[in-house]
């Protein structure tokens, strides 16, 4: 008669629960953003492009923001790599970089919004602007949520708490963060380039 832990005895915990849960959540998120994007694309086709309204967004600022977000994905995945290599002292700096890049993204976004609103391009300025604020606003909220999660992880890491569990959480937070990045990868051409 041997004694084993409950996790070991379960059938098939091949994928850690946290990761599996995160992917199910992301599946739902894909549908949320996807539904909005589909609505945007269809309505835009139907209305002939809304080019007069779309001409007023700043591609340059958005391209810079894309760079910020893609780079933040890199730093977070590097943090994950450091976790896996058990290089604890490299995790915190990478997390900090991710947080700063995320905040920078939000700051740039805020600057962009304020300029547009100052020029009268509010959400009621036309359907393009409704979708613009709806899509980028919901995305920005997701970025904000990600920044908060990353900041919590950063605090845990620099205090050296919960180390084994933080390892996994860096990976799950990364999944979420990269998903938000992917959403932006589609938002950028949809809103700014076409």
């Amino acid at each position: 008669m041997t004694t084993v832990s409950i996790e070991a005895a379960r059938v098939g915990e091949r994928i850690p629960s946290g990761k599996l849960a995160m992917w199910w959540f992301l599946a739902s998120e894909i549908m949320t953003f996807g539904g909005l994007l589909a609505a945007f694309v269809l309505r835009r086709f139907a209305a002939g492009g809304w080019e007069d309204q779309a001409a007023h967004v700043s591609t340059r600022i958005a391209a810079f923001n894309t760079l910020l977000l893609v780079s933040s994905s890199l730093t977070l995945v590097q943090a994950h790599a450091a976790v896996k290599a058990d290089q604890r002292n490299r995790v915190a700096p990478y997390l900090l970089c991710t947080i700063v890049l995320g905040l920078a993204f939000l700051a740039v976004k805020g600057y962009e919004y304020s300029g547009e609103i100052a020029h009268g391009f509010t959400p009621s300025a036309g359907p393009f602007w409704s979708f613009y604020y709806g899509l980028t606003g919901l995305h920005a909220l997701h970025v904000l949520a990600g920044v908060i999660v990353n900041a919590a992880l950063y605090v845990l890491v620099i205090r050296g708490r919960l180390w084994p569990r933080v390892q996994q959480r860096v990976e799950y937070a990364g999944l979420y963060w990269h998903f938000v990045d992917i959403v932006w990868i589609f938002l950028f051409p949809l809103v700014y380039l076409s």
């Binding site: 008669m1 599946a27 549908m31 539904g35 959400p123 009621s124």
Partner: protein, 580 residues
């Protein structure tokens, strides 16, 4: 097979009152919380029926017992048309999102899923607690909308814009925003729940419990979880758009601002139809658990039922436009959607026939859960076959938006939530609370409910065929509806009887907590894992992790010592031959 003892190292049991009964992470407590809140909301949803039905039977006459309701909702017991619309809206919203889902998924699902798979708790217990308290907040927000100026939402539970998108069209301002917020919170709550269910069922199964040994209730909860997660996204997006239209003047759904109202309907029903099955499947799951136990027979065609469920789930994503045949969609779209809709009857027919075939050659004992199961079979059959009328685009031209539709979906949802739900409650109450419910009161409850239910909703088909529209404050405005007034009056009397028929249940549910007979661990002599632990199960559910040797429905197996064979019980010899 070597014997392996497995220690459970779940978190230590919380002992303070707040952590044990209120902010508990124990799935059993959370399940009971969901169940209780759902039943309380059902009382409220039922109360709305009384006012709605009275108004339909005797329009614009004072409604007894309501003179306390303040203006402008009611004028000394006389109903305001706007408040009528609000009650209709709240009835639908409450019953679908705040009764059906918490009872069947939140309540039965949460309580049973870990027990049935031999787990000590959900995979993510704290997420589970958050799910419940988010739902609680959602309920509070929804109820608070009754008390804001302008009253609650009045655009129907489907919230079609522009009616819902511009406050001027209904006169409802804050209440509608609260409605959207409440739904968003509710979606978030069940999103957390769904993620948790799926993760738990995939990761936490006991040793030996392969997918095809899972109780069908688990399969149904799993499928429901997948359907919910994959369908809820577009409506969350839609809710965001609707809220922005109402608050910051955006133009998603309002044509005068360049929006498109039909878009909402598509997003809503893309979610709405899978949502029907999210509610339906757990109810079917309860019935599928109860049938074999009280017929003492294996469920007929286990795998066939599982495959049918999956097919029905897949099909449910490609039928949504049948709610919109006359809504202004391209008429050519109606044909494919009509075909998929009617085809969905095939997997459900297979499931129903499998349930019936389970009875064949059984030894059927009509305890209360089995009575409700029979009630479910017969009434749900009516709900199913009348769906064919709605699914046929040609017939739908006439019956869309009439009481035929109302009768149809009450014949699907009421059996699911109440017949199957009550069956489940009577069946699992001993496991939940450690006491048996009273059998005589239970049987009384069944017969009263069954008769009254049919007296309410069968005549509604007559109303529908007569062309009676839904959501009409005063049907006597129309000459062609005047001859139907006696039918309306009959339905109202039956509806009051249906409401009163729930009194035995309430007495039984509350009274049995203290006065019920103490329940044995396995009072129904059932096979599934939840019956192999004590009633109610301890914190952590199982003293040792159970090992599963066979499927869940091995009843009356030749050569076995008893007429049931629990999943955990090893056979002395030839264990390998035990069923799949």
């Amino acid at each position: 097979m070597s014997q392996v003892a497995v220690v459970t190292h779940h978190a230590h049991e919380e002992t303070s009152f707040w952590r044990k009964y209120v902010f508990s992470v124990d799935h059993k407590v959370i399940g009971r919380q969901y169940l209780t809140l759902g039943l309380c909301m059902a009382l409220l949803g039922g109360a709305t029926v009384y006012v709605i039905r009275w108004q339909l039977a005797w329009p614009e006459t004072p409604i007894p017992l309501t003179s306390w309701v303040p203006e402008p909702a009611m004028y000394d017991g006389q109903l305001d048309p706007s408040f009528y619309n609000q009650l209709v809206t709240m009835h639908g919203t409450i019953m679908v999102f705040f009764v059906a889902m918490p009872i069947l998924l939140g309540g039965l699902g949460n309580f049973l899923l870990p027990l049935m798979i031999g787990a000590d708790d959900m995979a993510l217990p704290r997420l589970n607690m958050m799910s419940f308290w988010t739902f609680f907040t959602a309920s509070a927000v929804l109820l608070s909308s009754f008390f804001v100026s302008g009253g609650p939402a009045a655009a129907g539970w489907t919230g079609y814009p522009p009616l819902s998108a511009n406050p001027e069209y209904t006169g409802v301002h804050g209440g509608m925003n609260l409605w959207i917020l409440a739904l968003a919170l509710e979606f978030a709550s069940f999103l957390m729940g769904g993620v948790n269910f799926l993760t738990t069922a995939i990761n936490m199964r006991a040793p030996g419990l392969s997918f095809f040994r899972l109780p069908l209730m688990v399969w149904m909860q799993l499928t429901a979880g997948v359907l919910f997660l994959l369908s809820v996204g577009p409506i969350i997006g839609g809710a965001v758009m609707l809220l922005l239209d109402r608050t910051i003047g955006s133009g998603f759904f309002l044509p005068e601002r360049g929006g498109d109202p039909l878009l909402w309907q598509h997003l809503f029903w893309f979610f709405g139809h899978p949502e029907v099955y999210v509610v339906l499947l757990p109810g079917v799951g309860a019935v599928l658990e109860i049938l074999p136990v009280f017929a003492r027979k294996p469920i007929f065609g286990y795998r066939t039922i599982v495959y049918s469920t999956i097919i029905a789930g897949v099909l449910s994503f490609v039928v949504w436009a049948h709610h919109m045949f006359v809504a202004g969609i391209d008429p050519r779209l109606a044909m494919p959607f009509s075909i998929t809709t009617i085809l969905i009857s095939v997997p459900f027919a297979i499931m129903t026939f499998a349930m019936i075939a389970t009875l064949w050659g059984g030894s059927i004992e009509f305890r209360t859960p089995m009575l409700f199961t029979f009630g479910f079979l017969i009434t749900f059959l009516i709900g199913g076959v009348t769906g064919i009328f709605n699914g046929s685009a040609a017939v739908d031209i006439f019956i869309h938006g009439t009481y035929f539709v109302v009768a149809h979906f009450h014949y699907t949802l009421f059996p699911t939530v109440f017949f199957a739900g009550f069956a489940g409650i009577y069946y699992w109450y001993p496991k939940m609370f450690g006491r048996m419910m009273n059998e005589a009161l239970g049987k009384l409850h069944f017969w009263l409910t069954f008769v009254a239910f049919n007296l309410v909703f069968l005549p509604m088909f007559v109303l529908g065929i007569g062309g009676h529209m839904r959501r009409i404050y005063n049907p006597l405005q129309y000459d062609f509806l005047k001859p139907l007034a006696p039918v309306n009056q009959f339905i109202t009397m039956a509806a009051v009887a249906l409401l009163l028929s729930q009194i035995p249940f309430i007495l039984n549910f509350i009274g049995s907590l203290w006065f019920g007979e103490k329940a044995a661990d396995n009072p129904w002599r059932a096979n599934t894992l939840e019956w192999s632990t004590s009633s109610p199960p301890p914190h952590g559910n199982f003293a040792t992790v159970p090992t599963v040797y066979r499927g869940p429905y091995e009843y009356s197996r030749p050569g076995a010592a008893q007429d049931f064979l629990p999943q955990t019980q090893p056979l002395p010899t030839g264990a390998a031959a035990a069923g799949a």
